[in-house]
């Protein structure tokens, strides 16, 4: 076998795929062929690196040279200069700024990763997720071996308790306690479930974690099964994640053939196997009791708790259910110890949290930060601030049911309690940055529209209440808001929060109540002055033609309803009665002579 000189890693995450990473691979192979380097260069694919705004990413090892925003056309140059000539292509390298990071030292020299700390995603972007040997080479399954050979189930649970790890699905329940409850239940038929039903719009933490490092999740679950005395695990993942599913299937098969799953794992007395169950994509199935119903073959609807799944879960048996990110932390907790894990983070929230950073921010993508990092650090230091010189307005954490926090909350630390105190939630890790061009009423409407359409329809407050909230918000954004609407929203919101059956309903009003609290003046402007300061609510816009109109007639031609009148080379006029606020005139005017207000 020829010794490989270079190892080229191509990010195979969805953003990079969309940005031609597959074509890049082809071009790379052709270039290597041309330089007769195919035998000496190893190409492999990784899961999402998270640095999506710099994608497609290509990493050359040794040397940890990270190339960003490469194109197929760049491959010739990279091969010729770097792989054949040993000289990295400077213009394509992602800017360096060396920083140390325990789990992510190889990427630490990049701004984007500077303040990050990667535990959940420690292997994402480094290993080939479809190759178990790659995982084994980064101490994969060592934690499992340690648990099975050196630790009793009680010791494993004690270690998890010591770590202070809390559920990453959103509620933040202490993981160790949950394990303890499940372990203490009588009976030898128990289940372990991984909740990979990630449903927040725009969130892709769990998917990336699985696509980039499926074995970590598997290892966590096997350890969990050992700790609570379950022989069977189920990965519940939505069918919309075909790549993640495929990689899980490959990983499970590989783990089985390596004796890491199945009968008598690693020669111990412990037997455990895993099965994948596909969800049909209902948001509410992320709620644990609804998820369990779905696995059982029923309609995914939550039921009242108690009994909690740890007492009566899947098929009425004690069930340990954790989310992907929680599971991915387990091998680290076991391997490096709960004591070490608990040094990261804040008093009450330990470890790291992954966020899907999106919205009006320079560097969108996946970030993992230690608990206690401030929102400001994420938005500005990691996210690179707001693009286009726009003003920051709010950041929304926790997915569609999180709250919108304005500037004065930017120094809020990220941990379960602080976010709750500020009026938002940790949620599963969505983070959307909002700038001055976004209308807060409209964004609240957007989120309630989502939760309403995803409500399972079981309990009255969520099913009927969110519908009425949506109607009121729609009215307001269409300029038909009435005095008293804000109070109605508050009255409904507070009732829904306190009276709903499950977390979906209980958190659904958060975006509305938090925007009313923090941006009440925007609501009032909409209702009383019929004005949307962000210019997003179309019905509230008024288009007028200014004096600098040259009479070119472009707007007149563009107007779909014939609302613009005027003779050539003279100032045109918009008939406000006919105008439908479509904005076509504004778009086509080359002289900035159309104003929108």
């Amino acid at each position: 076998m020829t010794r490989k000189t270079y190892k080229v890693t191509l990010c195979d995450g969805p953003t990079c795929i969309r940005n031609q990473s597959r074509e890049i691979r082809q071009a790379l192979e052709q270039a290597l062929e041309k330089h007769s380097l195919s035998q000496r260069t190893e190409i492999h694919l990784s899961g999402c690196l998270g640095m999506c705004s710099k994608g497609p990413i290509l990493i050359v090892n040794p040397g940890y040279v990270i190339y960003g925003q490469v194109t197929p056309e760049d491959m010739g140059e990279i091969v010729e200069s770097h792989l054949a000539g040993g000289q990295p292509v400077a213009r394509l390298i992602v800017k360096e700024d060396h920083l140390y990071n325990r789990f992510f030292r190889i990427f630490g020299d990049v701004d984007f990763f500077g303040k990050q700390m990667r535990i959940t995603l420690r292997n994402c972007g480094i290993i080939d997720p479809e190759n178990i040997d790659d995982y084994l080479s980064v101490r994969g399954y060592e934690a499992l071996a340690k648990a099975l050979t050196e630790m009793t189930p009680e010791q494993v649970i004690s270690e998890v308790k010591k770590s202070g790890l809390r559920g990453r699905g959103g509620a933040g329940f202490p993981t160790g306690l949950k394990w303890d409850f499940t372990a203490k239940q009588p009976g030898d038929e128990k289940y372990v479930i991984c909740n990979a039903d990630e449903g927040d719009p725009g969130a892709f933490m769990d998917r990336s974690a699985i696509e980039g490092d499926p074995h970590t999740v598997l290892e966590g679950m096997i350890i969990g099964g050992y700790a609570v005395g379950a022989r069977k695990g189920i990965l519940y993942i939505r069918a919309e994640y075909p790549l993640a599913i495929q990689r899980l299937e490959i990983a499970i098969e590989a783990a089985r053939s390596h004796g890491l799953l199945g009968e008598r794992i690693l020669g111990s007395d412990f037997s455990f196997d895993l099965e994948i169950r596909l969800g049909a994509g209902a948001f509410v199935c992320g709620e644990e009791t609804a998820l369990i119903h779905s696995i059982e073959g029923s309609r995914g609807m939550p039921r009242p708790r108690p009994p909690y799944p740890s007492v009566s879960g899947l098929f009425g048996k004690p069930t340990l259910i954790n989310n992907v990110e929680t599971w991915a932390n387990i091998p680290v907790v076991v391997l490096d110890g709960g004591a070490w894990f608990s040094t990261i983070g804040t008093e009450t929230s330990k470890g790291t949290k992954v966020f899907a950073l999106a919205g009006k921010v320079q560097n969108t993508g996946l970030v993992e930060v230690p608990m206690g990092t401030t929102l400001r650090e994420i938005v500005y230091d990691i996210g690179g601030g707001i693009p286009g010189g726009k003003k920051f307005k709010a950041v929304q954490t926790g997915g569609p049911s999180g709250g919108c926090l304005p500037e004065e909350y930017l120094d809020t630390q990220i941990d379960y309690e602080s976010l709750a105190k500020a009026g938002s939630i940790m949620g599963s890790g969505g983070m959307i940055v909002i700038d001055e061009d976004t209308c807060m009423v409209n964004i609240a409407k957007f989120f309630i529209e989502f939760t309403q359409s995803e409500s399972c329809g079981k309990c009255t407050p969520c099913r009927e209440g969110t519908k009425r909230m949506l109607e009121i918000l729609t009215r307001i954004t269409q300029g038909q808001g009435k005095p008293g609407d804000i109070e109605k929203l508050e009255r409904l919101g507070e009732m829904i929060q306190k009276a709903s059956l499950c977390g979906l309903g209980q958190s659904a009003p958060n975006p509305i109540l938090s925007t009313i609290k923090n941006f009440r003046e925007e609501y009032e402007e909409h209702i009383h002055q019929k004005k949307c300061r962000a210019g997003e609510c179309r019905a509230l816009l008024k288009y007028t033609i200014l004096d600098n109109c040259v009479g070119c007639g472009a707007c007149k031609r563009a107007c779909p309803v014939g609302a613009i009148d005027g003779t050539r080379k003279e100032k045109h006029v918009i008939n406000q009665d006919l105008c439908i606020q479509c904005g076509q005139c504004f778009e086509v005017c080359k002289f900035n002579a159309v104003s929108k207000a």
């Binding site: 009242p304 009255t460 109605k488 009276a499």
Partner: protein, 596 residues
């Protein structure tokens, strides 16, 4: 073991039993927490959120129907904040509900209406879009009106937990959530057995029976028709409740009088044809025992069970008695023997049945049951419909002078009366079969082992040294349990009685709605209705079907003998496997390899 715990409700301490919900504890202490989706016989749904209470230390309100009490728990059931939240919740339900109470069938008997009144809703704050659906009129018996549905899920749980038919489920999400049969099939084409239990538990009018009262009033006014009516045993035991009387009063006499006042020319009794059914069924059973026919033999009186059999247990069709139900036998005899006797054109006879049952509407329309090309029973109205007609016609059922049914199809034995309760058909059949088989009269005619509300009851009987093992199931869920036993061990029983409704016909889908503050299908009410029938049996001098002189006369004048060719022509029927959409037999499921 009976260690009590201390809880505080509205600032007062109480000692209560552990292992119960807040609602159960509060009920016993005299705090009635408002509720809607809760039903004691069904699983806990926790959906309506009307029964929320405040528990100190909890972030949210908790549903008292679901949350267990614990020591030291401090509960508030009636704070101002809670009252507001409950009121808002009911208001939200009303906002998405047709505001047509005055023209609604459940006006005055609607749980939502009562709840809204008790919440003190005096203004509406959140009105907006209201859901719009067409009524599903496809079924012969049960109408589904999703616009009236408030999604409490009682019908879904009734259909899947007690009846285990699993026809109804919630579909779609959010505002568009709706209860429907699988694949959004029309009720008439779905696996619905038309048992009507969804109607019994529905708090509003989202499920009602197909109403034939107007048609019946019209026909009662047709001078060309001879109007004949029969009424089922359990109608007399329940109809009083619709007039505010306590449960368990036998209203036979007043009902006969009221039906005459309504305009019927002949008021007959289904108990007469129950006796006839026993003659045929007991003879059929003995024939099967003696000639090695298919056993166990299963009764065929319950029409919901008939549809169920054809859909879910077609392999047991040969086990089921070929006897028509008492109602259909009555219809057949009315249009033949009675018509001949009175020299009437059977086409001019309007044959009406007042039934405790919605499924009888479906049964009456079955083409297999045609009598010389005519329907044996032209119209079926439920106890509820009959009660309404009597009220609507201004007849005072409560104070009316009782009357006797007409001859020749009105006289009945005690055995015919107990048909209306679970175990009754079995008991009646034993009384006759024993005598037919042994030639001796059964002395101890009250068969305790098949009485009561236990789901599946078993008993044995010695006939001339031969052990006869019998079993009784009521409610389709229990029936499935029993039939699965039969599938595994066909020798286990000789004779099985199955009734589709919980409690048998006394708990039928057409019985009066629960009275104010009572629970639909309350066991106590079912027992009282059953007791009325057992008392009626006890009070009769003739307690065995074969001793009924009118039955003997009928055989002598018309049918010759049980199982004779004439009997077969008019009193027996057949069944065939049916496969509504969505039912794929297990065998085929495996072959096609389809996952769904």
């Amino acid at each position: 073991m009976s260690k009590t715990i201390t809880i505080t409700i509205n600032h007062k301490e109480y000692q209560v039993e552990p292992n119960q919900t807040i609602m159960q504890a509060a009920d016993k202490l005299g705090f009635h927490i408002p509720r809607l989706c809760y039903h004691p016989k069904l699983s806990i749904e926790g959906a309506c959120r009307v029964c929320i209470v405040e528990v100190e230390g909890m972030r949210t309100y908790v549903a008292s129907c679901a949350y267990p009490v614990s020591d030291g728990m401090k509960i508030h059931t009636n704070t101002q904040a809670l009252r507001k939240a409950r009121r808002d919740i009911i208001e939200l339900i009303l906002d998405n509900h047709p505001q047509d109470c005055h023209t609604c069938e459940r006006d005055g008997n609607c749980e939502l209406q009562r709840l809204a009144a008790s919440m003190g809703i005096r203004a509406r704050h959140f009105e907006g879009q209201r859901k719009r659906y067409e009524k599903d009129l496809s079924s012969d018996a049960v109408i589904r009106d999703p616009e009236k549905c408030i999604l409490c899920g009682r019908c879904v749980r009734m259909c899947s937990e007690i009846q285990q038919v699993h026809n109804l489920t919630q579909a779609h999400r959010g505002f568009h959530t709706v209860v429907m049969p699988a694949y959004d099939m029309p009720m008439g084409e779905s696996v619905c057995t038309t048992c009507g239990q969804c109607i019994n538990v529905c708090p509003t009018a989202a499920f009602v029976e197909k109403n034939y009262t107007q048609e019946l009033f019209e026909k009662l006014n047709d001078p060309d028709l001879v109007k004949v009516v029969q009424f089922a045993p359990s109608v007399r035991a329940a109809i009083g409740e619709a007039f505010g009387l306590e449960a368990g009063l036998n209203m036979e006499g007043p009902l006969v009088a009221a039906l005459r006042k309504l305009g019927f020319d002949y008021v007959f009794d289904t108990q007469f044809s129950a006796d006839l059914t026993i003659m045929e069924e007991a003879s059929e059973f003995l024939e099967r025992v003696q000639s090695g026919g298919t056993l166990p033999m299963i009764t065929s009186c319950s029409s919901a069970w008939m549809k169920c059999l054809e859909q879910f247990y077609p392999d047991l069709i040969d086990n089921v008695s070929t006897c028509k139900s008492p109602m259909s036998m009555h219809g057949a005899i009315t249009k033949t023997y009675f018509a001949q006797k009175k020299k009437l054109d059977p086409k001019k006879i309007l044959s009406v049945a007042v039934m405790c049952c919605t499924a009888k509407k479906y049964e009456a329309a079955r083409p297999e049951l045609l009598v010389d090309g005519m329907r044996g029973v032209d119209l079926v109205v439920t106890t509820r419909e009959a009660a309404w007609m009597i009220k609507s016609a201004g007849i005072d059922l409560v104070n009316i002078e009782p009357e006797e049914p007409d001859h020749p199809l009105g006289l009945s034995s005690g055995a015919g009366a107990i048909f209306g309760t679970t175990g009754g058909v079995m008991e009646a059949a034993i009384r006759t079969a024993y005598e037919l088989y042994t030639g001796e009269t059964l002395v101890d005619i009250e068969v305790a082992s098949v009485r009561g509300l236990k789901g599946i009851k078993e008993g044995t009987l010695m006939m001339d040294g031969k052990e006869i093992r019998v079993a009784v199931a009521h409610g389709l869920g229990n029936a499935f349990g029993l039939l699965d036993l039969v599938r595994r061990d066909p020798e286990k029983y000789h004779f099985i009685e199955i009734m589709g409704c919980p409690g048998g016909c006394v708990g039928g889908g057409g019985q009066p709605y629960a009275q104010i503050n009572a629970i639909p299908l309350d066991d106590e009410v079912l027992q009282k209705r059953a007791q009325a029938l057992y008392d009626l049996d006890k009070a009769k001098t003739i307690r065995r079907s074969h001793d009924n002189p009118d039955i003997q006369k009928l055989y002598k004048e018309f049918l010759q003998s049980p199982l004779s060719p004439v009997s077969h022509k008019y009193l027996h029927t057949h069944y065939q496997a049916k496969r509504p959409v969505g039912i794929i037999p297990k065998k085929e499921r495996k072959q096609s390899g389809a996952a769904q």
